[in-house]
């Protein structure tokens, strides 16, 4: 018994935090692997959106004065990718709400582990799931005719921005999960506001045709910056596409990084504080 106890060695705060987060991430990944339904349903919606939007709206929506369905399909894909990564919010929220509900958060909080590790572990696991979803979605996109035109490094940079955005949004989900009482509430609470957020943006239609107020919102929407950045990095903008004058639209890559980092900093701070005083 004593042998076991003395084997506990003190670690630096940072290395303990990383190690604890990875242990919790592993636990969440094992769970995800044992409940594959969740991952599969997470894939159906974006795939449905790709097919519906590209075949139903393609041909009716003008992108930079061009009505070709092929142009719209390429334009659309960055929007669908970005919307898909933000759905990580619901997963993180529901997972954490369930852990609260089942008393697991109490168990974790009674252990001598790093304070933020339970939440960081969860968001890291969600990042892995989001990565898988994006890969499958990209394959479907290629099948319906999506192509990148700026080379592999820029494509990878685009996917990097998408995953960073998804990671940032899972911290919003973490806060929702700690705040609401049930996993069901966390799922709907994590999804409802995503619809206005992703629709009042440049994701599905160019923002320049929107009424003035909506247009300003869309241009400054954190979500639009990532979509615009991906379109540039993928080479999915038609040549005569009028890029709005708003700063985030002129510098979308930088804007996308700034937004995501700000969201992470803000929501991680709030979530960890909430976690410390959480009660089931």
């Amino acid at each position: 018994m004593t042998a076991v106890t003395t084997a506990i060695k003190p670690r630096g705060a940072l290395s303990q935090s990383v190690r604890d987060s990875l242990i919790v991430a592993k636990r969440n990944l094992i769970r995800m692997a044992r409940i594959p339904e969740v991952v599969i349903f997470g894939l159906i919606q974006p795939i449905m959106f790709v097919v519906l939007f590209s075949y139903v709206f393609g041909g009716s929506i003008s992108v930079g004065g061009n009505l070709s369905p092929d142009v719209y399909r390429e334009f659309l894909m960055a929007g669908i990718f970005a919307q898909t990564v933000t759905f990580a919010t619901a997963g993180a929220g529901a997972g954490i709400a369930e852990d609260m509900h089942k008393g697991l958060i109490d168990r974790f909080r009674s252990l001598p582990m790093a304070r933020g590790a339970v939440l960081t572990g969860r968001t890291l696991a969600d990042l892995v799931q989001t990565t898988l979803t994006v890969i499958v979605l990209a394959i479907v996109a290629v099948i319906v005719g999506w192509r990148v035109h700026e080379g592999i490094p820029k494509m990878l940079a685009g996917f990097g921005l998408l995953l960073l955005l998804g990671y940032a949004f899972s911290w919003i989900g973490a806060l929702i999960g700690l705040t609401v009482r049930t996993p069901e509430a966390a799922t709907s609470g994590g999804l409802i506001w995503l619809f206005p957020l992703t629709f009042i943006s440049n994701a599905f239609v160019p923002s320049n045709n929107m009424p003035t107020v909506l247009r300003h919102i869309a241009e400054w929407n954190p979500f639009s910056a990532t979509v615009q950045a991906c379109r540039e990095l993928f080479g999915n903008l038609p040549p005569n596409y009028p890029v709005p004058d708003a700063w985030p639209m002129q510098h979308p890559v930088l804007a996308s990084v700034i937004w995501s980092v700000l969201i992470i900093a803000f929501f991680r701070t709030l979530s960890v504080r909430k976690y410390r005083s959480a009660a089931a």
Partner: protein, 333 residues
């Protein structure tokens, strides 16, 4: 020297509800304290404060010589907590659950693995070790939860209603495990609504209600406080109730109480079995037929009722709801 668990003037309020209203506790090393009280009395809040899950508004608590407010992480290294809900991950196997907890207690992966195996064997879970906890029965989950609390063999253990919802056989089995643990020198604070459980496991008992300690002592001391023996008679024919009451009162040392619908007469007595024989003889002489007669000593249930004015297992839903609701609002802030 203060005990392994020591608390002084603990206060915790949730809105208008004083969940803890100046609670003092002192549990000597290697003993078991049973914290008894109706739902919503403050038992769980006390455990949450002592295990660093909740900050007290005022007061001081020291666990294993460490201050729960100032040294929470050191306290966490020295305690094990087994909650009201079996807090294990149901999609992980028993082994994975224990390994994860071991690693989060900062054990190396290898030590955590070895320790998990030991615990699985000790708690009779070795055969189910590689099945997900989802497939476990209620008793198995409780054992796994308890095993998780024991991963580092903490010197101080907290168990919040460990046997609630278990069938009698599993309850018995869990009691045996707990007794073994205490025999090994662990200090234990146990909350329960089952008086039988406190009677069997606890060296000292603390009854709390509305956030205050209203009685403390050993089980025998508490029973003695409540009063001595009583004779209980159930007459066969309701018509004999008045006559029988008069006879029984003659042997008693206090007022008789009569329950008409059960035809039961209860009188406090002094004199034990010999007196009981006399009562029977006298009733027989008068031709009063009886269904049942007995000498009763007070149980912890009697103690509980006389102290709190209601039975322990009666769901005190209203109080419980208010406390929970208040805690929620507090957390929402």
């Amino acid at each position: 020297m203060p005990g392994a668990i020591y608390a002084e003037g603990l206060v915790k309020t949730f809105g208008d509800v004083r969940a803890l209203d100046g609670v003092d506790l002192d549990v000597p090393e290697g003993t078991v304290l049973g914290l008894l009280g109706p739902n919503g009395a403050g038992k769980t809040t006390a455990v949450r404060v002592l295990t660093t899950l909740l900050q007290p508004d005022s007061g001081r608590a020291v666990v294993a010589g460490l201050d729960v407010v100032r040294q929470p992480n050191d306290v966490r290294r020295a305690i094990g907590l087994s909650g009201q809900f079996a807090a294990v991950d149901e999609y992980l196997t028993g082994r994975e659950n224990l390994q994860m907890v071991g690693q989060l207690y900062q054990m190396s992966a290898r030590d955590a693995k070895a320790r998990a195996q030991q615990l699985l064997e000790r708690f009779n879970l070795a055969d189910a070790a590689d099945r997900t906890a989802k497939t476990y029965s209620g008793g198995m989950r409780r054992r796994l939860d308890l095993a998780a609390a024991l991963v580092v063999s903490p010197p101080v253990m907290f168990m919040d209603e460990p046997t609630t919802g278990l069938d009698p056989r599993n309850r018995q089995a869990l009691w045996e495990v707990i007794e073994e643990l205490v025999a090994g020198g662990t200090t234990l604070l146990l909350t329960t609504q089952y008086l039988e459980e406190a009677d069997r496991l606890a060296h000292d008992i603390c009854v709390i209600d509305h956030g205050k300690v209203i009685a403390r002592g050993t089980s025998d001391q508490l029973k003695a406080q409540t009063g001595g023996e009583r004779v209980e008679v159930v007459v066969h024919d309701a018509a004999h109730l008045t006559g029988a009451t008069e006879i029984v009162r003659g042997f008693g040392k206090g007022e008789a109480s009569v329950e008409t619908h059960t035809r039961k007469i209860t009188v406090p007595v002094a004199g034990g079995a010999k007196l009981l024989a006399e009562v029977i003889r006298e009733l027989d002489t008068r031709g009063i037929e009886i269904d049942d007669i007995g000498l009763r000593r007070p149980t912890l249930d009697d103690v509980f009722i006389s102290l709190t004015g209601h039975a322990a297992e009666t769901e005190n839903e209203a109080a419980n709801e208010t406390a929970n609701e208040a805690e929620r609002k507090e957390n929402a802030k």
